[in-house]
């Protein structure tokens, strides 16, 4: 039973982050009536206060995630809460998966293949980079896949990058300007970046493409509606179980609402997409909606992240720049078998702007220091610190998964449990990368570099796409095999993660799906 039922809309989208807002804008502009349901509160640019302390309010405040395995942690840090979702505090690193990332199983006999190739997605990547506004230096970055020229030149090389480049040069690797959805100059009515290093707390000037300045103005102009404090708890289906009829959601007081819709699109963070389908079990779908394959929730992946840190002899201005990374090294990315027993690509993201506090701040780079030792370190690090991060590929295996737990969340619903353990050969790949990073730092003149503990970064999979309904949850458009008017948007669709940040691929898939829905409007709205 629900307390409130509303007039039907053509499309209801769960989640107002980058996937949801982009989908909403595209479909509203195509003439659909679109309603987006956002679990968190309304956000405004004025809330993007330049402070790591204040910025925590932008992070997830919904039900807790139960985590198990050796590559999990800090899920709340990665997810957003309110209009724009994680798009308000993302780092805007903008990379394409490489052609081989789409056919890992074919090439290596492990992980999975995608139902699309790089060539299939390339025009959508090109469209997405023009839409978001991407700066970079494609000429220098000869290791990224072929693409249209970036709309903007790269950001200037930071002092951190200049210091690190000596190390990369010395070991024979190329460090080039990063590709970012950050304006290096005015673009599409949005200001150029002033390199203040507060991306992590939100970019109120809109130099970093975020949903409040990019997608939501377009979506609202086209008539899309947005409802806050609406926590979607179930997708309903008709008596045949073959068509979705809408969604149930809970408001702040726990009251139940029903929103009918002709097309339903979960566009939440990876964990919540899978969990929502699992929560939507019914007589026709006893193991969850879209789970005819039995793989709903499975093939969760992440990136195994290791950070390398050091104090340089020269000043590096670590507080200045962009939070994502100023520079990038993809040389060697395509070698997924760099040593016996080691598997996966790796990418170096270098020279991230770093403030004194918070999870990625100066102080937590040295968690063992306290008291006067901490103070001594902070005073030197504030001017001489440098860092870089390596992302390593995780093989997609069914054992790593999102499932419903017996524990209940604050709404009385089964909690989401994520289990993720890094396969052994991926772990060996990560160890190789760590050694490589320390070598680079030493070659750059840092006498005592150090590495942080391996941690997860980015969450993907759980509602994977594929060509065969027996081995995947959706087709290449994110359309569930079992329910024709139910689409999924977001990184939960990724069969494999590659070793690069997922948002460019996520966006390319959203544009492709929106076009598919628009092209099949009559059939889907019947």
């Amino acid at each position: 039973m629900t307390d409130h039922t509303y007039d039907a809309v053509d499309v209801v989208v769960a989640g107002s982050g980058i996937a949801g807002s982009t989908m909403a804008a595209e479909l509203a502009e195509a003439g659909f009536s679109v309603l987006v349901l956002e679990a968190g509160p309304e956000r405004k640019l004025s809330e993007m206060v330049s402070s790591q302390i204040w910025s925590r309010r932008l992070r997830w405040a919904g039900p807790e995630v139960i985590e198990a395995g050796d590559l999990v942690g800090a899920a709340n840090f990665a997810m957003g809460w309110g209009t724009g979702g994680a798009g308000l505090h993302w780092y805007a690193n903008w990379y394409r998966l490489h052609p081989d990332d789409f056919r890992v199983n074919t090439l290596h006999g492990k992980s999975l293949d995608w139902p699309v190739t790089y060539d299939d997605l390339r025009p959508w990547y090109d469209h997405a980079q023009a839409y978001f506004g991407v700066s970079g230096d494609a000429k220098a970055d000869q290791w990224s896949p072929q693409s249209d020229p970036y709309p903007m030149p790269s950001l200037p090389l930071s002092r951190q990058s200049q210091a690190l480049k000596k190390g990369f040069d010395a070991v024979g690797l190329s460090l080039v300007s990063n590709s970012l959805a950050v304006n290096s100059q005015s673009y599409d009515g949005r200001a150029g970046c002033i390199l203040d290093g507060w991306c992590d707390a939100g970019c109120p000037i809109g130099a970093l493409a975020n949903p409040l300045v990019l997608q939501w103005p377009k979506a609202f102009k086209a008539g899309a509606k947005l409802r806050h404090h609406a926590y979607v708890s179930k997708i309903t289906t008709d008596p045949s179980g073959k068509r979705a009829t809408g969604v149930e959601y809970l408001d702040e007081q726990g009251a139940r609402h029903f929103q009918p819709a002709a097309i339903v699109i979960p566009a939440c963070h990876t964990i919540w997409n899978a969990r929502l389908l699992l929560l939507s079990a019914s007589d026709h779908h006893p193991d969850g909606l879209g789970n005819g394959s039995g793989l709903l929730g499975r093939h969760f992946t992440s990136h195994a992240l290791t950070t390398i840190h050091g104090l340089f002899p020269d000043e590096t201005e670590p507080y200045r720049g962009v939070t994502g990374a100023n520079t990038l090294c993809l040389e060697g990315y395509d070698d997924k078998t760099p040593a016996k027993g080691a598997f996966g690509s790796r990418a170096w993201l270098a020279a991230q702007a770093t403030k004194p506090n918070d999870l990625l701040g100066l102080a937590l780079a040295r968690p063992e220091l306290y008291g006067a030792g901490l103070d001594d370190y902070m005073r030197r690090a504030a001017r001489h610190y440098g860092n870089m991060t390596v992302l390593c590929e995780e093989t997609s295996i069914p054992e790593n998964r999102i499932e419903l737990d017996s524990q209940k969340d604050r709404f009385g619903l089964p909690a989401a449990k994520v289990t993720n353990t890094l396969p052994k050969d991926n772990s060996a790949r990560s160890d190789l990368a760590k050694a490589e990073g320390l070598k680079i730092f030493k070659a750059a003149g840092v006498s005592e570099p150090w590495a942080g503990q391996r941690a997860p970064m980015h969450m993907m999979g759980g509602t994977i796409m594929g060509g065969d309904p027996a081995t995947s949850v959706t087709n290449s458009f994110g359309q569930t095999h079992d329910v024709e008017n139910l689409f999924v948007a977001g990184a939960s669709l990724f069969p494999t993660p590659g070793a690069v940040n997922p948002t460019a691929t996520l966006a390319a898939l959203v544009f492709r799906t929106a076009k598919h829905i628009s092209d099949n409007r009559a059939a889907l709205l019947r």
């Binding site: 330049s50 309010r57 985590e67 800090a74 008291g371 006067a372 030792g373 901490l374």
Partner: protein
């Protein structure tokens, strides 16, 4: 959640505790009465955090924690919200009780009465997961979280940046430190 993953396995006791100036914490420094913690709990937390990041007590760390565990979770500014969504008050209250328990076990007196050497010994034990009486919440994790709170207060505000002699570069300056 495996809370220790954020802390290096081989913790080094690099801090020079003996050099940390003792800060006496009282109402005049911490402001109004705490909303959720008791006054003794707030004083223990202040002293503890001041050992982790000297200046944290004067900057109001106990009030920072107390206020942010007293309001709605969605408005909380504590780093703990990334890692342990629910039960913030029990977490802090348990950690403070653990400090007192360890203090009684080792020195047969409350933490407030310990000298610099003694209180430093408890900090080192928590940092290295070598507490003898204090078991929950995980002392190492409590060290990690409370250290972050102390760092927020000492280095993470506009005043903290100024103390480090680095520019703040705000787009939108915080209306208040926290």
């Amino acid at each position: 959640m495996k809370r220790r993953r954020f802390i290096a396995n081989t913790l080094r006791t690099a801090a020079l505790l003996g050099a940390v100036p003792r800060v006496v914490v009282g109402k005049s420094q911490e402001g109004d009465r705490p909303m959720s913690l008791t006054e003794p709990e707030a004083e223990t937390l202040s002293k503890w955090c001041d050992l982790l990041a000297p200046g944290a007590a004067r900057a109001g760390v106990a009030r920072f924690v107390d206020q942010n565990i007293s309001g709605s979770f969605s408005e909380s500014m504590l780093l703990l919200r990334y890692l342990d969504s629910d039960a913030m008050l029990p977490f802090y209250r348990g950690g403070i009780a653990g400090i007192e328990q360890e203090s009684q076990h080792r020195f047969a007196m409350g933490f407030a009465r310990l000298d610099m050497q003694q209180s430093g010994e408890i900090v080192a034990a928590a940092a290295q997961s070598k507490t003898e009486a204090w078991t929950t919440p995980d002392p190492n994790f409590f060290y990690f979280i409370s250290r972050s709170d102390a760092v927020d207060m000492v280095y993470g505000t506009e005043a903290g940046f100024a103390q480090l002699d680095i520019p703040y570069l705000a787009h939108i300056a915080p209306p208040k430190p926290w």
